[in-house]
Subunit: 357 residues, 2 copies
C-alpha cells in the first residue's frame, strides 16, 4: 500500500457509509453482537415450486436435532446409528435398478465399498471414476445408506462411482475415516491416473473429502482431477457465522447445539477439533485440485462452504462456489426432483467433464 | 428422466432425510413460514480483525433505514439526497491525489462523468477501460460522491476508470439512469473494442450494470469484456430469501421496509418493478459476458447476488460468485482496509486481467 493510502482510505470509508441507504446502525447487544428480534421467515418465493412445497409441508422425522434424547453411551450411539442406517439403507438395490445402475458390494484392502456402475456410461466418462464419500455427521450413513447420493451422481452424470463405506465411531473414531479414504485412494491410484479421478460428497462427506486431500498432500500423493464439496462440514467447531445467523432458519440442521456438537465430539475422540484433518478449513490449501462447492442461502454450513472457497482461492486453486436460493443444508438431497437438485448435479457433471482427464 | 426414476428418487429422498443429522423439523408458522426466536448474533469469529472491530463498534450514521423520517415530497427527496451526497463527496480530490490518481470532471454526450486515471497504469491494463456505475439505491451517490469505489478500483487494479454520474430521481427517475449508461457506453464503444471494456459497480451500481447489459443486448450492441456485480440490487421487489433471513443481521441495509422500498418506488416511478431493466434478475441472461459477483453471509442482497449467479450460469455465461464471511451489504466499501476488501479488489483485478482483451 502506498504511504498515504491509509489516510485517503479512512476518509473515503467514513464517507462511503452514507452512500448505502443510510449506513450502519448501532449494535444493541454486548460484545458487539447483534440482537435480532423474533420473526417469521416465509417460504422462499424465488425457489422452485418443488422446493417451496417441501419447505411448506416438511416431513417430520423422529430424531430431534436439538439434543433431546441423544445417545450418551457408546452402545446407545451404536444402536442409534444402526437403526437410522438400516432405515435409510432400505431399497437401494431396487432404486439402483430403476435408475439404470448396477450396484455391487465389495471391499478394497479391507475397506467396505459399493460399486455403482451406470448401465450406459457416458463415453466422455469411460476412463473416469468418481470416489464417493458419504455424509451423516461422521456417525450416520454407513452400510447401504452410504450410497444414496452416489446413486444420484452415477445416474445423472452417467459416471462410474466407487462409494467408500468408511469406518465410523463409536467403534472407529477419527482418524479411521480419513485412513479409509486414503487406503481406497492409494489402491485406485495404483491403477489409474490421478487426473482421471474425482473425489467428493456432501456434508461430512464434503469435509472428509477436503481432509483426505490435506492428507494426500502430506503423503506426497498426486491429487484427484476434481473435488466435489457439497455443503462441506469443514469446521467442526462452533465458529462459522451462519451457524448463528441461520440457526433455526436451516430446516435440516436447526442448531449446532445438539446432534452436531455431539457428533463432532464423538468423532474427534479427544483430538483438537481444529486439526485440519478434522476441520479442513484450518489447513493449507496449496496444491488443491479444482473444487466444486454447493450451498444455499438457508444453509447453516453456508459459511463453512464460503470460507473453504476463499481458502482455496487464496491458495490459487480453481474453486467454483454455487449458492442456491432458499436451500437449507443438503436440500438438494432431500428434494431430489427439484430443479435445484437437477441443477446441482448437472453443474457437477459439467465441472467433472471440464477438469477430469 | 427415465421412466422409473421418479419412484426410485422418491424412495431415496424419504430415506435420505435420516442421513443428515435427523432431517427436517415441523414448521411452526402458518403458510409454511418458519418462526425464528429472538437471538443475539455474535461478531463473526472467522472474519478479519479489521472487520470484527468495525462490526463490534459500528459507526452511527444519521439516517434511519427503517423509514423513520424518510422524505415524502420530491423536494424533500432532492434536499435529502443533496445533503447526503455533499457530505459523501467531500475530499475526493485529496483522496485521489493520495492514492496516486488523477481525478478529472467532465461529460460524455451530456452525461456527467469523472475520469480517474492512475499515475502508473498497469501495463497489462494500458488498453483497458473500466466503466464504473455507482451505488446509492438509485437516489444517492451523485456528484463527487459517485467516485468513492472508482478510486478503490483505479488505485488497486491500476486501471483507468470512467465513472458515470447518471441522472437520478426525483428529477430523473427510471429509465434515465439506464439511458445514461447506454449513452456513455455507445460513445466509448465507437472508440474502443468492446472486449477491452469492463462495466460494473456495487449495490444499485451492480443492478444498473446488469440492467444496462440487458439493454445493450436488446440494442444489438457488443457486450463488454467483463462485468463486476458487487452485491447487486438485482430485484427491487421484496422477494429474495435473504431480505427475510438476514433482516437486521445485515448491519448496513437493516430492512427492506424503509429506505429500500421507498427508493425502489421513487426510482421506478410507476413502472413494474419486475421490468428487467429495473430488476435485472428477471431478464434473459443469454449473451452476457463473464461476470464477477461479490456478497457476504450477512448481506440482505446475498440472494439477489446468488440468484443472478444462477441465472448467468443457466444461460451458459462465465460467472464467478464470491461470498465473504460475516460481511454485510457492501462492507468491503465500508471497511476498505480490511483483508476482505483487499481480496475483493485483488480478485476483481485478476478477473479483469483474465477476461479483458
Amino acid at each position: 500500500m502506498r504511504r498515504n493510502q491509509g489516510l485517503a482510505v479512512a476518509t473515503t470509508a467514513a464517507l462511503a457509509a452514507m452512500l448505502l441507504f443510510g449506513g450502519t446502525s448501532m449494535s444493541e447487544a454486548q460484545d458487539g453482537g447483534r440482537r435480532i428480534d423474533a420473526r417469521t421467515v416465509p417460504v422462499p418465493a424465488a425457489a422452485s415450486q418443488a422446493l417451496r412445497e417441501s419447505i411448506a409441508a416438511p416431513v417430520p422425522v423422529p430424531v430431534s436435532a436439538d439434543g433431546g434424547g441423544l445417545p450418551e453411551t457408546d452402545d446407545e450411539w451404536a444402536a442409534f446409528a444402526a437403526a437410522a442406517d438400516a432405515a435409510a439403507g432400505q431399497g437401494v438395490d431396487a432404486a439402483a435398478e430403476q435408475l439404470g445402475l448396477t450396484l455391487e458390494r465389495g471391499e478394497v484392502e479391507g475397506v467396505a465399498v459399493h460399486r455403482v456402475t451406470p448401465n450406459e456410461v457416458d463415453p466422455a466418462h469411460a476412463d473416469h471414476l468418481f470416489l464417493y464419500v458419504h455424509g451423516g455427521g461422521y456417525v450416520f450413513g454407513g452400510g447401504d445408506a452410504s450410497v444414496q447420493e452416489a446413486l444420484f451422481i452415477a445416474s445423472r452424470a452417467r459416471i462410474p462411482v466407487l462409494s467408500i463405506d468408511y469406518r465410523m465411531p463409536p467403534a472407529h473414531p477419527f482418524p479411521a475415516a480419513v485412513e479409509d479414504v486414503v487406503t481406497v485412494y492409494r489402491h485406485v491410484l495404483a491403477q489409474r491416473p490421478a487426473r482421471s479421478l474425482a473425489l467428493g460428497g456432501t456434508s461430512a462427506g464434503g469435509g472428509l473429502t477436503l481432509a483426505a486431500v490435506h492428507r494426500f498432500l502430506a503423503l506426497g500423493l498426486d491429487v484427484p482431477g476434481a473435488l466435489y464439496a457439497g455443503t462441506p462440514w469443514a469446521d467442526l467447531t462452533k465458529t462459522s457465522d451462519t451457524l448463528f445467523t441461520n440457526e433455526a432458519v436451516d430446516r435440516v440442521l436447526l442448531t449446532y447445539d445438539g446432534l452436531l456438537r455431539a457428533a463432532a465430539e464423538l468423532y474427534a475422540d479427544g483430538h483438537d477439533l481444529k486439526d485440519p484433518l478434522l476441520s479442513p478449513v484450518y489447513g493449507d490449501f496449496a496444491g488443491f485440485p479444482p473444487t466444486y462447492l454447493v450451498t444455499g442461502t438457508r444453509d447453516m454450513l453456508l459459511s463453512d462452504t464460503a470460507r473453504t472457497h476463499r481458502k482455496l482461492r487464496a491458495a490459487g486453486a480453481v474453486a467454483d462456489l454455487n449458492v442456491y436460493e432458499g436451500v437449507s443444508h443438503a436440500d438438494y438431497l432431500l428434494v431430489p426432483e427439484s430443479p435445484e437438485s437437477q441443477e446441482v448435479y448437472a453443474e457437477l457433471n459439467a465441472f467433472l467433464l471440464r477438469h477430469l482427464e
